[in-house]
Symmetry: C2
Subunit: 243 residues, 2 copies
Amino acid sequence: MTVDQPHLNVLLSRPIGPADGFPYVVRYQNVAVVEPAASLSIGSHQHAHYEIILVERGPYRCHVNDEQIDLPGSGLVVLKPGDWHDDSGEPPLRYHALSFRIIPGPSAERSANIFIDESAPASQVIAGDVTQFLGLFARLQDENRRADAFSAFMLDALVLELLWTLLRVLPAPIIHPALMVTIARHGFAADLMRLFSRSLATTLDLGQMAAAMSMSKRSLTTRCAETFQTSPAKLLVRYKMER
Amino acid sequence: MTVDQPHLNVLLSRPIGPADGFPYVVRYQNVAVVEPAASLSIGSHQHAHYEIILVERGPYRCHVNDEQIDLPGSGLVVLKPGDWHDDSGEPPLRYHALSFRIIPGPSAERSANIFIDESAPASQVIAGDVTQFLGLFARLQDENRRADAFSAFMLDALVLELLWTLLRVLPAPIIHPALMVTIARHGFAADLMRLFSRSLATTLDLGQMAAAMSMSKRSLTTRCAETFQTSPAKLLVRYKMER
């Protein structure tokens, strides 16, 4: 077998075990478009699940747990289960509101907490350019309108993609520490695999690997054991074999 | 609150209960690009998980459980856990190979069966236009190359989207009956919600709903109870209230 281009298997070896993936299931609930003909004012309320407000065109204003958020142009607001929020604005305002559940939560009626309880409302907001989210919401709206036997499953996949697009750009300190551990584990695995893929022609020893990862040899060995249940040297051999 | 456009909540009421979604978790494993400089020939083998071969440019030939599949141009082959398969072809062949797991399977080492055991190999093949899959694979390859702490989660979402794109176009009889029940349940719910959204201005009685759904009144009542734990009339009231 001759292969011109290298296989693109940077992430070939995923972490193994309970932290292998997102420990929840995401379920699309509904999506709406709001484009008021006159001033809009919706009083303060809360939900047991998540809501994403994507402002395509302002002006939009809301309060999140009493803190005022102004989006004169475009932007996005993440509302956690239990967050008190209202909405107001006027033409030419146009926004999308997406609701979804993250299960299992603390009860059947409430989504899981993937953010810290005491996040500053401003850290739940992306002000300005939301182009990458507009594309995702356009696909959500199309699939919602299509509404066939497969749509709910497809919408679940699209919401999962939206959630990870969001988690990537939101400030890391607002992500729940337990979820952050899982994400960091994948970051460690990705960094190690990238190092391996750069070093296929050479044989790295533990010291070289640790230096490249900016870790002590002891820390690298410990994290590697926790994440992959093996040593850095054995993992490198496995990586080369799998390619 | 004045809203110019109606809310687009066709799927507002999802089926409730154990059949509410896909009862598995999908985990990306790896993705490779194969573009051989000379004739390619990989002997017969099998995997414990799923593999999707996306042929961007043929000629590609394989055997799936002894049946020969020829893709002179473009196409896609779905390989189930345990399917015996080989690969051959020659320049200008270019294909993508994606592996993923569906958990929980019958054992930790084997993915769940979402297809029937005895599917005809030809029914696992899409010959010809695969444009919608090329777009998804381009995103998978981009994310795989990006390889940061979030990539594995994003790849899981993309594979889930790919899986449902596939299930939508594959022949329904090859889908596992248990999964087909869940899909059909969502089809029933989507049809009912679409009927409701068309009939917001009128008050449908049970006979009119049953006629519009091409079902007997008794069947509609039974399926509605199974899917939504309520009667068609009460569901319509709830639907109108939620809008």
